[in-house]
Assembly symmetry: C2
Homo-oligomer: 198 residues x 2
């Protein structure tokens, strides 16, 4: 679940498996007892490793829920870079996020649970927003490339951040228990809210 490239070598396979296992156990514990009421030591004990090792796999407790932000961010960036330049900018952005949502990363139920936990604690929300800042740095140059006129940098940044907000809102809504729509459907709807005239 962590990498988009297939791990090569038994070592890398084992590492990814352990990583996934820790994340799964952590999310379950957080979902049941609340993020602040679960210590790293408890997670470690439940998995069967030492607390020190948990911190080797995840630099911070919050990352057990968030996962690896950089990897997915680069994925979106590559998608966006490969869109035809004559395509309208917002369409290209939408398509790039959609490609990410359609990537079979982890199973549905686990993903929803992670998103639900993520929305329940300020510390996690904050960490998740940090991920967006990282993505923004990757996407802004590409968007700026496609713009014309003055103040390209500022306008690109605005567009990227706004689109990321759409992405976040769509995923949050999708995680709600009563949401039956697909995440792609919600994403399109959120994007549409910013283009009433187009």
């Amino acid at each position: 679940m962590s990498d988009l490239v297939n791990p090569v070598g038994t070592r890398a396979i084992a590492r990814d498996a352990v990583r996934a296992r820790i994340s799964e156990v952590a999310v379950d514990l957080f979902d049941e007892h609340g993020f602040d009421n679960v210590t790293v030591e408890q997670i470690a004990a439940a998995v069967g490793v030492s607390a020190r090792s948990v911190h080797r796999y995840f630099p911070a407790k919050e990352d057990t829920v968030i996962g690896d932000p950089a990897g997915w961010g680069e994925h979106v960036r590559d998608q966006l870079a490969s869109r035809p330049s004559e395509e309208p900018l917002w369409d290209a952005l939408l398509a790039s996020y959609e490609a990410l949502l359609l990537t079979p990363s982890r199973n549905e139920a686990q993903g929803r649970k992670a998103m639900r936990v993520l929305g329940s604690t300020p510390a996690l929300r904050a960490r998740n927003l940090e991920k967006h800042l990282l993505w923004a740095r990757l996407l802004t140059p590409i968007v700026a490339e496609r713009l014309e006129g003055n103040h390209r940098e500022l306008r690109a940044e605005t567009i990227v951040q706004a689109s990321l907000a759409c992405f976040d809102i769509a995923l949050t809504a999708w995680a709600e228990a009563d949401a039956v729509e697909s995440s792609v459907e919600l994403l399109r709807r959120s994007f549409g809210a910013l283009q009433p005239t187009a």
Copy 2:
């Protein structure tokens, strides 16, 4: 700088003064040595109080830079609520943020320095974005009120988050050393980036 309501009673005055002093010293230290390289104990020593007292004024180290988010958020909400209902939504939002920027809160130099420090550390940026989430909760109902059609909630959330992104980008750009434009000018420009057709 912390409150919009005038503190009543000498005790409240003293409290606000100490609070402002801690924030000022902290921002200076962060600006010089970096957020992660300054401990709460060092801030406390520089101010002349105990570390425990610093934590009494600010629940978290990051809050010495951010300040009180709720107060300003309510200010924006009130502004937005008082805009005429026939005014276009984005104009009303823009006007509400502008009113906040024009409020003489603290001196220019200190404000810029705080924003610069804020932009320099991921943890601070994230904490600042959390503030936006709090604002969003206040603004979304009012925006939803003005919308028509289906999915008002999701669309309102999208619009609010996007406008907050504009606000954040404008302030960040304003804090840059080489930015000579006013914050209001930058805010308008950022808003404009989302309405190419209107």
